[in-house]
């Protein structure tokens, strides 16, 4: 690979589009706001100029119909990416995503597939309240036939978008508007980050922190703080929510015996539950302490910033959770 430059998360996504669209004329982009940075930041910069309005289709406000059209185009041999500049809008499009796309390959007995990317942006905070802040990756993860990826870094944003576009199946690509400015090294050439594989962002032996998307950064912050207290946390970045990289998670917990899960969605019936269930099935004998979950409470997103502060979790909560299950080291905490 060439030496990587630093790109922001949204520039990385933009590069994924430029390169996949260049490489394959069947790739196209459709959805609300593809030509408006208000909606999608600079993820689509230069695409219309380069590939034309035909392949970069800013659409009427018709989430259901447009998403269905993307699915149909995929069935007819194209590789569409359909964007929902807020995940919340996808609630209008559940029929084509779940009833049609997710089931399509199976119910045709493998005779027809739908290689479509459902790109949903989590766009939270900023006193936008309940209908404009939702993270719904857990809903899609529950549905057979869908893959769900959630990049935390610029490198993964590009590599997972490329992988999603090139995958023969419907993939839900969920990114986080709050990460758009986050920068990191990104190779120039086109590459995939393998769907279904997580990675270890930091090694440690005392506690495993499994995190995803935004929460990976909080987990790393937390690990740093924990290290100051001689707790060495291993931080796993899921990258893909479905299918889960079970092996990576389980083998880390087998090593550390302790698990904190950090998700940016609701806790109840969320992805943190599946990870907890998985580990308590597959690493039962190795678990030394109860599994801790750091995720959103059973509450819609509030508008008021004062409430948002309490609503969203951060490194502090992860540290707190990790601290609870590393209690034999309590004396260390006390000492400081």
């Amino acid at each position: 690979m060439s030496s990587p430059r630093n790109l922001s998360y949204c520039q990385a996504i933009n590069e994924a589009f430029h390169q996949t669209m260049e490489a394959d004329p069947s790739v196209f982009l459709i959805g609300q706001g593809v030509k408006s940075p208000w909606y999608v930041g600079s993820t689509t910069r230069g695409l219309i100029e380069r590939f034309g309005q035909e392949r970069v289709i800013d659409s009427p406000i018709s989430e259901n119909g447009i998403t269905g059209a993307a699915v149909g185009a995929a069935i007819a041999g194209m590789r569409p990416v359909v964007v929902h500049p807020r995940m919340d809008f996808m609630l209008y499009a559940m029929d084509p995503i779940i009833n049609e796309a997710a089931n399509w390959f199976y119910m045709s007995g493998g005779r027809s597939n739908a290689p479509v990317v459902f790109w949903g942006i989590i766009n939270r905070r900023g006193e936008q309240a309940a209908q404009h802040s939702q993270a719904m990756h857990a809903v899609f993860a529950h549905v057979p036939g869908l893959k769900v990826v959630m990049p935390a870094t610029a490198y993964d944003a590009k590599g997972l978008m490329v992988a999603a576009i090139q995958d023969p199946n419907p993939v839900v690509f969920v990114d986080e508007r709050l990460l758009y400015g986050h920068a990191g090294p990104v190779p120039e050439e086109i590459y995939q980050v393998e769907i279904g594989k997580g990675c270890i962002r930091r090694e440690g032996c005392d506690v495993t922190i499994v995190a995803v998307s935004l929460m990976v950064h909080e987990a790393l912050l937390a690990a740093y703080q924990l290290a100051e207290n001689d707790i060495e946390a291993e931080v796993i970045d899921l990258r893909t929510v479905k299918p889960l990289d079970q092996e990576l998670i389980v083998s880390s917990v087998k090593k550390t015996g302790r698990l904190v899960i950090a998700d940016a969605g609701w806790q109840s019936f969320g992805i943190s539950a599946e990870i907890a269930a998985l580990v308590s099935e597959q690493a039962f004998d190795d678990l030394k302490e109860p599994i801790m979950r750091v995720a959103l409470p059973d509450c819609p997103a509030p508008a008021s910033m004062a409430l948002e502060e309490d609503y969203y979790s951060s490194a502090v909560d992860i540290v707190e959770a990790a601290r609870k299950i590393t209690r034999e080291r309590k004396n260390i905490w006390r000492a400081r």
Binding site: S59, S108, G109, G110, K147
Partner: protein, 325 residues
């Protein structure tokens, strides 16, 4: 328009094949040999056949819950259809889909599915694909009068109109959606008029006259290939049998609320008999020739049933195949 003999015989044979095949399902359904819910299109064959005859093999169609006819009319294999309805491994969807999921990409039958209106936007997408590739293909979406209740139909009309997509929206208005007469589903204004606020060319067609459908289809295809699509066709027709299965009344639930006289009057307009009379009286095809077609079709259908019966069931250990491509 005038139609050559060969074409006329083709239309007749194809309608007959659908009818004969579906009527052959009645007994196996009633005795539970067939369990997958079958929505028979007996009485509505002219729409599927007339429209698909106006298409080329490469063109795309999408169907609904009631799509045995669409599948066959577009050129799908009778054997594969029969085997699918028996939920066998040699079915067009390998027994995973059943009656409501028929697919054969090789002949442009891109799929059918029972979520009402669910495939309309997919057909728009196929038309979009054709338009992006400039490959001259046309897409057809078949749906019922009941589908006019679903918002996604209007979203599809709007987007297709905006982008001038090569798609024909074919509404098979059989006057009922399950137990609801269309008058309880929408006000008494012709369905085709829903196309007007989107500026879409629209026509009312006698859906029991296969030649009328064929002609309307040819014109619509031409409009679409000229980049002047979409076109909306409302085809007036009627189903001779139950909403699902042979007869909603004999299957225990007594949900067919259609007046007997109404059914009788439509039976008089049977599209197959109509074409048969036309062939004999106006085209000069002999009664014997017609009988020969009937015999051939009956034979095909018998063979398909045997094929289906002899096909193996999917094996349990292959349950999880085909979840991902």
């Amino acid at each position: 328009m005038t139609h050559d003999q060969e074409r006329l015989q083709y239309l007749y044979r194809m309608m007959l094949r659908i009818r004969c095949f579906e009527e052959g399902l009645v007994d196996p359904i009633l005795n539970r040999e067939i369990r997958t819910p079958c929505h028979l299109c007996s009485g509505q064959e002219a729409v599927a056949v007339g429209l698909c005859a106006a298409l080329s093999k490469d063109d795309y169609i999408f169907g609904s819950h009631r799509s045995h006819g669409h599948f066959l009319a577009k050129g799908g294999s009778l054997n594969a259809l029969a085997a699918e309805i028996y939920c066998k491994e040699k079915g067009c969807s390998r027994g995973r889909g059943g009656s409501m999921h028929l697919v054969d990409p090789d002949v442009g039958m891109l799929g059918s599915a029972p979520i009402v209106s669910g495939t309309i936007s997919l057909a728009v997408g196929a038309a979009l694909a054709a338009s992006l590739r400039k490959d001259g293909r046309v897409a057809v979406s078949f749906f019922g009068d009941g589908a006019t209740g679903e918002g996604v139909l209007y979203e599809s009309l709007n987007f297709a109109a905006l982008k001038k997509l090569p798609i024909i929206f074919v509404c098979e208005n059989n006057l009922y959606a399950t137990h609801m007469p269309i008058r309880e589903c929408r006000v008494d204004i012709p369905i085709r008029r829903i196309a007007e606020p989107f500026g879409i060319e629209n026509h009312m067609v006698d859906g029991n006259d296969v030649l009328a459908v064929y002609d309307a289809g040819l014109k619509a295809v031409e409009v679409c290939r000229n980049g002047e699509g979409p076109v909306f066709l409302e085809c007036m027709t009627y189903r001779f049998r139950g909403h699902v299965g042979p007869d909603d009344n004999v299957q225990g639930l007594h949900t067919d609320i259609r007046p007997k006289t109404e059914l009788a009057s439509w039976l008089n307009k049977d599209p197959i008999q109509r074409l048969e009379r036309y062939l004999i009286e106006h085209i000069g095809i002999g009664v014997m020739d017609v009988q020969k077609i009937k015999d051939t079709v009956a034979q095909e259908v018998r063979e398909a049933k045997t094929f289906a019966e002899n096909s193996p069931r999917p094996r349990g250990k292959e349950l999880n195949e085909y979840v991902f491509a």
